[in-house]
Symmetry: C2
Subunit: 301 residues, 2 copies
């Protein structure tokens, strides 16, 4: 089934204990599309400024990513983010951020994309996520990301969004803030009461927890990666692998969602092996499937 | 096969966000034996002072724990520990500690225990762990715990111990310190080069990683417990479930070790549900097996 993503395209400068990557391609829609592209076609909706140094058509060439929804704000600036990671890369500091086009009107969903069945709304203001979602006719499965600033400052909008989506994919600290509870299983239960039927909590190097409103649980560790250079984009790559697999399967039964979490986990393990999207562009579906097999093997007892 | 444990018996005072438990029964050998007792008989070796308020014969009545190795230092004091936990219970502070008998000569292994096949050396000075181990004739599988003060201050003794044991069971921060590496898979690989053929790294609420010298890995999440009151003893209960299952199976093949990790994980989830050993004394093997099934189900994909 069709899969649409809307999110950011960014010019990132990232500092990790393993080096610095200046003015490299980043952004949630970028990582998501690159990850989801391993599973099937992706419809891309996002905006860059006239200053964007990247040729996205070239970046995504041969990867089944339809850029019809890519807008160029000629007189505007591309989103820029500069961040650094702590020694163990478990903490991230935003050193500088220029919203640019992300502070302007959200992109329009092209007419040909309005029949999309699987939809991922990457992190942005929940009101804007809703605005994009309203342009989709009859989505089958909608997932969204959010972050602490919306949980703290725009909770009503976020609650309205949660009633309209099927799945929320968030980090551990966001789940604690939204669920008002440090125990993640309990936090998930509280979030499920707000609307979305499925919640996926990403715990970085400690894996993820997925829960649904029927009380089913899936808990997987992270892939045992020994090659970790830059965690940027891991969460969006996880979402890309997760949604890409679901759209390819064409259903969102919990059994399918479990394998989708495993694929998300594995795809993210390639992202973190290098800066920008290099960890993803240098792998392939066969390598992803090989790691899925490893993940299945190490969690078996 | 026979299973012997040597470790502490303590008078604990524990403060968690869920309450305070004063002068309650604690200690590594206590938690270990209670946990291992669900799987088969346990030979207990440890020392208390003349002031010990607990009747261990009564505590362990009907649980298959042989207390022949329990010594009472009439003129000495029982080990005391007072500790408190942070809000999320992921950090523990020792507020007060009196070694008492633990600062004196280590216990002797009774003659009838010297043919023990499975042995667990709970945390203490590695030189003392070696001294106990030398009293065992032909152990089949020896596991030991350690902590940061021995890694930092007694590394030569610890390295000597590692060459004599089959398995090291430690926490995440201890693995980082001993392996000199924040990536736990790499840390495990470095520790394996020091001697022990198997290393198990406990990550508290994030589960555990087990690795062996042949490159096999087992990574399991923690049991999704919603009832968490006091994490004290979780690590020793994990070790008890792990070793108890191994001794009952009578082998230490990696396949058996995987299930042993799962049992350790599940037994620890009962420990943390209440203060002292109450979470363990109020459960039974059927409930443990039911949680093992849940753990298998939530990690399946």
């Amino acid at each position: 089934m069709s899969l649409l993503v809307t999110g950011s395209i960014g010019i990132d400068t990232v500092k990790t204990p393993f080096g610095v990557s200046e003015n490299c391609l980043g952004g949630s829609a970028t990582y998501f599309s690159m990850a989801a592209g391993f599973f099937g076609p992706v419809r891309f909706v996002g905006v860059v400024g006239g200053d964007c140094p990247f040729d996205l058509a070239e970046v995504f060439a041969g990867r089944g990513v339809d850029l019809t929804g890519l807008e160029v704000g000629a007189g505007s600036k591309t989103f820029r983010w500069t961040g650094s990671y702590s020694k163990n890369m478990d903490e991230r500091t935003t050193e500088h951020m220029e919203l640019g086009v992300l502070g302007e009107a959200p992109p329009k969903v092209p007419g040909d994309f309005r029949d999309s069945q699987f939809v991922f709304l990457a992190n942005t203001a929940p009101a804007l996520q809703l605005e994009v979602l309203e342009q989709i006719k009859r989505p089958v499965f909608v997932a969204a990301d959010t972050m602490n600033c919306w949980i703290q400052g725009h909770l009503d909008d976020l609650r309205a969004l949660l009633k309209r989506i099927d799945c929320l994919i968030i980090n551990e600290d966001e789940a604690e803030a939204l669920g008002g509870e440090g125990n993640l299983v309990k936090a998930a239960q509280r979030i499920l009461k707000m609307g979305a039927g499925v919640v996926v909590i990403k715990k970085g190097g400690s894996g993820s927890i997925m829960a649904n409103a029927e009380g089913e649980l899936c808990i997987l560790p992270a892939y045992p990666a020994t090659d970790v250079k830059d965690p940027t984009g891991a969460g969006d790559s996880f979402a890309g692998g997760f949604m890409g697999y679901l759209a390819a399967q064409g259903n969102a039964e919990f059994r399918t969602l479990r394998t989708a979490v495993a694929y998300g986990t594995v795809v993210a393990s390639f992202t973190i092996a290098d800066f920008s999207i290099n960890g993803l562009t240098s792998t392939n579906r066969a390598q992803i499937d090989a790691r899925l097999k490893v993940l299945r093997n190490v969690t078996k007892f």
